[in-house]
Amino acid sequence: MAVLGRACLLLALLVCVYGIGASLYGVRRGRSEWCESGRRAVYALALILTVAFVVLEIAFMRNEFSFNAVADTSSTNTPTFYKFAAVWSSQEGSLLLWAWLSAMWSSLILFLTRNRMRDITPYAQSVLLGFAGFFVGLMIFYASPFDTTSPAPTAGAGLDPLLRFWTMMIHPPMLYSGYTLCIVPFAFGVGALIARRVDAEWIRATRRFALASWLFLGLGILLGARWSYSELGWGGYWGWDAVENAALLPWLTGTAFIHSIMIQEKRGMLKVWNASLVLATGTLAIMGTFLVRSGILDSIHAFGASTLGVPFVVLIAVCIFGSIYLVVSRRDMLRTEHRLDSLFSREAAFLLNNLVLVGLAFVIMWGTYFPLISEAFTGSESSVGPPWFDRYTVPLALILVLLSGVGPLLSWRRATGSGARRNLIVPATAFVLVLVGAIAAGVPENVKALLMFACAAFAIAAVGQEFVRGTRVRRALSGEATPLAMFSLVRRNRRRYGGYLVHVGIAVMFVGVAASSSFAHQNTDVPLGRGQSTKVGAYKVTYVRPTAVLHDAPSVDGELRTALAQYPQGNQIPIHHDGGDLDHVLDLGAVLDVTKNGHHVATLRPMMSFYNGDDPSQGTVGDLLAGQSVSDVGLNSSPLRDLWSAFDLNLAQTPLQSIINRGNAIVPANRPDLALVTIAALAGSYLEHPPAAEFNLLISPLVMWLWVGGLIVLGGGLLAGSPSGSLVRGRASARVAARATRGMARA
């Protein structure tokens, strides 16, 4: 199987080289059959990489530990879903995923444009094949997913416990889809510039791909945030981590691009800006991939130091300098066709929105790469933290949310003053009411958060008003019932109302972010024993009782139950028969009771899972618990607030360590299964005499709205990108058009 995989990679590289050559030869010599052959090379590449991907998946599913990637990231008792997804948890597998997704998206766009833009697509397919070839080359020369070891290990290391979370398994394909989709408009932008075709056609052809990349990136970022919130035990969802930022950068420039291409489509303006944005977005996508692969910046997400840095730096340099050369050398063709009619127009609002988005991207990029910049200039690496990012990003985010409400109120070309004033009444009233209401409610200490609530209210009211008025117009004209009128309005104007929904989603998300980051109450590292309580904000949290779960014990079930019977509460311990690898044997946790003013509010069950350390020096029993310990938070969500808790127990600092030591002395090294009996005794003892554990407790207001807002954004994005059919239902001749114009004049 590994041989087939390696053959696929070699064949893929050959196909990339051939496809680039055939495309360029065909377009330069006017030989369309070579261009066609080059396009088909992309399809062939997709086929080859699909086979390679399937080969690797089969190796994971069949536990073929002779594959290094399988041995490093999977094991026999890894659940099937995680086994399937473990492919992309390794450096090598994720490179294959990148190349495969890239080939699939490239094939789709080239199929859709097979009869159009024949002067642009050969260049675009060369660029797409170039990127795919780069990643295939990395796999062949630096990090092959098909490297094997002989003799094969008998067991795998298992998937990193931190990654055993459903969103973390979906997060990488979403993010990589976003990155690889960013490459599509990039490639067509390059093709358009080389072919000197800078009209709106390539934009029209790739708009949905730009939107899809934006959606996938956004979804990937959101899933990563959810993982951080639920799994990492620090209570946050965004830490301004280098890799998080790297994904956010192309999303921001992509957002700017999606807005500004509308101006080019309609008015033939901003061509330089759009070309620069699309090239920047593609380059930032590659830079984001580079950050994860190279380990050049410290990040919880990075794969650690690797040898991939130099090739990536070369690729990024080619992208940056090639982009600059193309834009500068084509500057004459990129001249704008029209000027802005009025500063009081949707175009002007979009322009401002673009400046804010690019400003945000610049600030975040500066902060993210500051360690490298500082090292280059001062010789010592220093970094900036969340307060630095917050200082600069929050004011820009406020403007952005406000603009997301202003834009829908304005018309294209020029808005009429009286109409705009009338349209402003409802959103402005919402702004003032929320501001005054929040101050009256006694929460004025954080001005930025209050302003964010008010701006979000403005945006939501503005969009709500658009829906209501649009529905009224539709009703008046069609006589449809209100729900049907609204449905028809949205269905027939998907791009407009999908975009509006995205604006609402963004405003809702920022409400969640502002409230949860400004008004949260957090107690960290609070030691609590059974029966003890602590206060968090207005809530009282009491440690009611300990909990324990045993895993991986099918062969010694009887012995375990006998051992547990020695303890009064031993029979309360559930035993999960997960498999025989003993990589995860014990969960310890607590039941917390949360009350407010003496009334029960919620019960939380935070837990900690202990994993095998694969370190024999820890002793037969100690080794089973010496690996990574992963927090499973206790969470109670509601629209108004989240009650969040994490549990931490350092076994070495508790009396339970003496049980481990005794077990290490008694249980022979060749009977790790019997070590489980000691673990059972430890669990029984823990239930009977629970040592004090440390808790992180967090009361976070409105955080649920962050996720709800994300779902609204997703829905709006899907609506805006859904096909609504061509507006052209036939072809009109100039004669017909002239008649139409005359008719219009008469009217």
Partner: protein, 126 residues
């Protein structure tokens, strides 16, 4: 080496050669991208955008964002621009005469005009 793997590799190689080689087996035809084709692509993209703009302007007017005077003026400009684009497309086709029933579907005329229900082509014709 496993025979199945060898056969699979050869089959894949054969499929790849068949896919990329197929266009090269066709009779030789030199077909450069001519200026008309490029122009047509540009005009068709411009036509789509212009229709969208006309429709958006209509909706903005009905939503009260544009005064009647502004609407008239912008509409006239847009429709003139649309007519110019259509004329350009006609020129490319060698001024092929269209029968009235070949003209764009006027289905929109029977429908409410607040949104896409109205064919933008129909909008350009009024």
């Amino acid at each position: 080496m496993d025979l199945v793997v060898v056969l699979l590799t050869l089959a894949l190689l054969g499929a790849v050669i068949a896919i990329v080689g197929a266009p090269l087996n066709l009779p030789y035809r030199r077909r450069e991208v001519d200026a008309d084709e490029v122009r047509r692509g540009e005009l068709e993209a411009a036509r789509e955008s212009k229709y969208r703009e006309i429709r958006d302007t209509e909706l903005d007017y009905r939503l009260g964002k544009l005064s009647e005077a502004d609407h008239e003026s912008i509409s006239a400009t847009l429709r003139a621009e649309a007519a110019e684009i259509l004329r350009g497309l006609d020129d490319l086709d060698g001024a092929v005469e269209h029968q009235p029933d070949e003209a764009p579907a006027a289905a929109g005329e029977a429908e409410p005009q607040a949104d896409e229900t109205q064919s933008s082509e129909g909008a350009a014709r009024r």
